[in-house]
């Protein structure tokens, strides 16, 4: 809508919806039904949504795509892209409704949202959700959608190189509706875990531990890649992975600072904590690897950065810069150990370390949030955490959060995978796996 046409329509400028944005910042002093919308918050939240979308496409796609063998790079990109398309539609049809709108039955509301927002029917132009009172509900719905997209898409790291594309899409759809939506509701949508006091600013448990747990189950169910251990499976093009990791880093400001839902002090502190923890984790992994394996690999540096981003996710908005620094360093070192040594020891084939980085990093972050949260950083949680403010009870809330997400997710993911395997089969044939997914599943190859 161009303003010119507004005037054409003979309306006073103030009457236009666009103008309400202007009024929003000012109408307090005026009379009448005030418009709750703040233009600055809205600007930031649309930007944040675009940033989080960029994390998945192309960010995550490239991060993973660079790590697989060349014959599978397009199939890996197709997973991120396909998940984005599919989940967007499902979120609009039903996901938002069951995750972020209240269930009329207060008891049920502990477990799942309502069903009245199917196809977003009740969402009008000027609707505002009570969960985000200064921006249009359309923006809040979109912002949450981008979280709902990236969470399942993260799982792709564990199933790389061997899953059917059809099975993958079914898995994304069922997992979104049966795992992500309920858990998002539990923690953020008014459900029992949020009520129980769990602190999860931007998704340490809801997003990362959740996706990581599903990744662990998936790689156990799928089994190892053919040739693991004998064939050279080193990343075919880490340039792509570096681009991906960088875009994840940049986009993550939408994720964490966007979770403030406003453009104010909380967003600023969350952004600062995110940057510090990420850098510290990249250094942590790099130094650990340099000492142990004698060379600082590029893959290690970017993996460390992602581990830092993951671990600070639940804590950003609750911790101060020093807390962020400690969480970051810990995440770099712990995830290095989990992705490299623990995986080797147990022998599961978490191909691109979705569990090792997101699962472990998410759990670590959730627990360290309980240690380092500071009442002075977030006035809504004035009690703070254990080590900072002596509030040990927060640790219990955090462990409960981690445990609940892990157990529920693991069980339901397992059931979903077994069901899909029964009906259409999860894994490609060995010939397809050896020749490559790109040509067999999508009929295309990279001709470089």
């Amino acid at each position: 809508m161009r303003i010119e046409t507004l005037k054409k329509a003979g309306l006073a400028t103030l009457a236009s919806a666009g103008m309400l944005a202007l009024t929003a910042g000012t109408a307090f002093a005026a009379a009448a039904p005030k418009d709750p919308l703040v233009a600055g918050d809205t600007a930031w939240m649309i930007t944040s949504s675009a940033l989080v979308l960029m994390m998945t496409i192309p960010g995550l796609g490239l991060f993973y795509g660079g790590m697989v063998r060349k014959k599978n790079v397009l199939a890996t990109l197709a997973q991120s892209f396909g998940a984005t398309a599919l989940i967007t539609v499902l979120w609009m049809v039903i996901g938002y409704s069951i995750a972020f709108t209240p269930n009329p039955d207060a008891g049920m509301n502990n477990w799942i949202g309502g069903f009245s927002y199917l196809f977003l029917a009740p969402m009008k132009l000027a609707s505002v959700s009570s969960l985000a009172p200064t921006i249009p509900e359309s923006v809040y719905m979109f912002f949450q959608m981008t979280f709902a997209i990236i969470t399942p898409a993260l799982i792709a790291g564990a199933l790389a190189d061997r899953m059917k594309f059809s099975a993958f899409l079914w898995f994304m759809a069922l997992w979104l509706l049966l795992v992500y939506c309920p858990i998002a509701h539990w923690v953020w949508g008014g459900g029992w875990l949020g009520t129980a006091g769990a602190m999860d600013y931007a998704g340490g448990s809801v997003v990362h531990l959740n996706a990581g747990t599903a990744a662990l189950v998936t790689c156990l169910v799928l089994g190892k890649r053919i040739g693991l251990g004998s064939e050279n499976m080193s990343p075919h093009n880490l340039v792509l992975s570096v681009i991906g990791a960088s875009l994840l880093w940049v986009g993550w400001f939408g994720f964490n600072a966007g979770s403030a839902l406003t453009a104010g002090y909380n967003a600023g502190m969350a952004a600062a904590a995110t940057q510090i923890a990420t850098a510290a984790a990249a250094l942590g992994w790099m130094v650990a690897e340099w000492i142990i394996a004698k060379k600082p690999s590029v893959l290690g540096m970017i993996s460390g950065a992602v581990a830092g981003l993951v671990a600070i996710t639940p804590a950003s908005g609750f911790v101060d810069p020093v807390g962020a620094l400690i969480i970051g360093i810990s995440a770099g070192v712990v995830c290095y150990i989990s992705a490299v040594w623990v995986k080797k020891a147990f022998g599961y084939d978490d191909s691109l370390d979705a569990w090792g980085v997101h699962g472990v990093g998410g759990a670590l972050g959730a627990i360290m949030t309980g240690m380092f949260a500071k009442g002075a950083i977030n006035s809504v949680y004035p009690k703070g955490g254990w080590l900072t403010d002596g509030n040990f009870s927060q640790m219990i809330a955090q462990f409960k959060d981690v445990g609940a997400v892990f157990v529920y997710c693991a069980i339901v993911t397992f059931i979903i995978l077994k069901a899909i395997d029964l009906v259409i089969g999860l894994r490609v044939s060995p010939e397809v796996e050896v020749e490559g997914l790109d040509i067999n599943l999508h009929g295309e190859t990279v001709h470089d």
């Binding site: 050279n232 499976m233 080193s234 990343p235 690897e289 394996a293 060379k295 690999s297 893959l299 290690g300 993996s303 992705a339 490299v340 040594w341 995986k343 080797k344 370390d353 090792g356």
Partner: protein, 112 residues
């Protein structure tokens, strides 16, 4: 006529090419190959997994020459491609029965 096939270290290409030109060799064909031999490869790190890369990048040069040029060309390659380090490569000589220049249809000596 003989077909001389030499496996050399990649960064020696320019020196070899120049010395052959100096001998009057007017053409050659080069292929990127991977060599396996006494020279050890390296390992690549992948989040703790180490993959042994036992094949090393080499260049294969093919030069067709008249038989009387053979020794001069082999000597030139040997001296220019040599670093004295392991992995310098090999020269193979095979008989060549016929040569045709596609553009003109000239054959054998004239085609070189």
């Amino acid at each position: 006529m003989k077909l001389i096939t030499a496996i050399i270290k990649p960064f020696k290409l320019d020196e070899v090419r120049e010395s052959l030109s100096a001998l009057g060799v007017q053409g050659m064909t080069v292929t990127e190959v991977k060599g396996y031999g006494r020279q050890k490869g390296h390992t690549e790190i992948y989040r703790g997994a180490e993959y042994a890369v036992s094949f090393l990048p080499k260049l294969k040069i093919e030069v067709a020459v008249k038989s009387e040029m053979l020794d001069a060309v082999v000597d030139a390659i040997t001296s220019k491609a040599k670093t004295g380090q392991i992995g310098d490569g090999k020269i193979f000589v095979t008989p060549l029965e016929q040569v045709v220049r596609i553009r003109t249809g000239e054959t054998d000596g004239d085609a070189l």
